[in-house]
Subunit: 367 residues, 2 copies
Amino acid sequence: MFSILPSARLRPSPFFDAVQAEGLSTGSIYNRMILPGSFGAPEAEYWRLINRVSMWDVGVERQVQISGPDAARLAQILSPRDLSKCKIGQGKYIPMCNHAGVLINDPILLKLAEDKFWFSIADSDVWLWARSIAGERGLDVDISEPDVSPLAVQGPLAEDVIASIFGDWVRSVKYFWFRETEIEGIPVAVQRSGWSKQGGFEIYLRDGTKGDQLWNIIKEAGAPYGIGPGSPSTPERTESGLVSVGGDTDEQTNPFEVRLGQYVDLDVPDDTIGIHALRRIAKEGPKRHQLGLKLEGDVPAPLGFSREKIFHNGRLIGDMTNCVWSYRMSQNIGYALIDRTVAAGETVEIMRASGSVSAELVELPFL
Amino acid sequence: MFSILPSARLRPSPFFDAVQAEGLSTGSIYNRMILPGSFGAPEAEYWRLINRVSMWDVGVERQVQISGPDAARLAQILSPRDLSKCKIGQGKYIPMCNHAGVLINDPILLKLAEDKFWFSIADSDVWLWARSIAGERGLDVDISEPDVSPLAVQGPLAEDVIASIFGDWVRSVKYFWFRETEIEGIPVAVQRSGWSKQGGFEIYLRDGTKGDQLWNIIKEAGAPYGIGPGSPSTPERTESGLVSVGGDTDEQTNPFEVRLGQYVDLDVPDDTIGIHALRRIAKEGPKRHQLGLKLEGDVPAPLGFSREKIFHNGRLIGDMTNCVWSYRMSQNIGYALIDRTVAAGETVEIMRASGSVSAELVELPFL
């Protein structure tokens, strides 16, 4: 595959020098930033996440900061999840929808103060969206991008590593809660979160000049635990049933179709964007659902850049939105976004570049 | 530099198979699509654009289609350029701004019918933006992405190539005007446009299954003229003074700062987004301006992923937003976005990774 051309249109994170020194070999672009991929040994990187601890430059999870007198109101307007009980120091996973109830992002919201929030975003321009709504509704808010860059530490030993750096208080931090603190003079926020199901933390660096320093603090503290560089893992996140908005979703996908209905509160205020559409969809039932796919064959055959069509008894029922070799299951697995009338247990045919491949539909997560 | 990882989150254009067959070696991601870069011989690709004719997969210029009863009204709301005299078949270059007058995109608008427009966009989520405004204002429009993918043919011989395919009528097409037609049964729109100053056309493919076929039609027709694969050229666009929104601009940049004031009509309707801010900026004068930089030294030293700081008499005055070796000028050239009090003719210092480098400020374009 082709290599990436540098440009000021794209931005490296404060950890990029450290990541390059680790031997970055593949990557992607996400929110117009560099998302590291592999460091040359994808399978070893996978097992490190599953069995030990891995550290990831996830600076691509850019922060949209909303502050000012109307900040709490705008945060709720943008979120079809009830924020009324959200406390300072708490985070929440938010499906963000447009007026039609279509998913446009799924940030983690962090409440830093009664009038200050961060949205730690997936890959779309939430700045444009939030500024548009604020401008149209005449809200008194400031929307900016603070100097904040997350670094994820993930895996069963992640808590031990983070506790060895910050202290044992981190062991009692609840999921998505965070604390603002510092380490060796570097201001950070420490949150229990991360895009894997192996457990861990995200350290939000609050001084972009200290990326190398923070990277090395974690690398050194993690050495006794076998830490090494990695990145959000497609095999692990697929096995674990995590959703990638923009990858697993299309221009019509609502939260109910991709197992995110539990994060939608239908009784949020009527001025919440998309809530009228979401109430209607909840009542009528979504037309599609997301299931797992176990593909026949014993040779790794990951998805390329394009979704692949799924057929059931000769009828087109939807798309395979990702596909990857599962090291733990020793088979190719993927996600189906398909007609809700076709259920788990059925066998389907996927039109791949190599020809038609059979697959079994299963409930998610796989593991 | 690292190589790109395939993912369904990113999308290839219909020309991607053909582009890969041509030997794509570098590229980028733009609007979550693959933007081809070089085919292994950057200098030869540059001279082909300057002296002959080059063909580019610019499917990344994704189309935001706005149709319906309020389409014309929404198009004007989104555009601080007067569209009242825009005719069907005409295109216009549009600086698109947010409520604060900050540039968020600079599409080419194509008027296909009184109630149907395409915005052929630069790298930001104009879908989110347009849908947000339509939703907030309750406009009766449909906003979608049509099956349309531009392919650019650029260079002094481009008109001859396009005329040999479509007929001599193309020679009388005015800049940014277009005609809907077909070639060998493939529906296309042919527009005089393209992101270079070497002249040429963009062919908007309207059937994504025919990418290979259209690529090969142009490749074969262009063979006698010396056509070959290329991509939007950083050296050429810099020499020619073209702006890359997102690369040459930041979160505060308004059109007046980057020589786009001529495309802002201050008497557009009051409900046009950003017009109040733009009128104020026009009255007060912008705080920064964009000038060219001629750097000392005779070794190519392109910009990497980060802007570089510019100093004048020891004072920080702004950023170098791009820098590239000019094959025609035999020196490194770039753009400065700096304090308006420092003018062309002055000498500045740029803080580069290699150390401080002197440069002369000049008016744009270079050539």
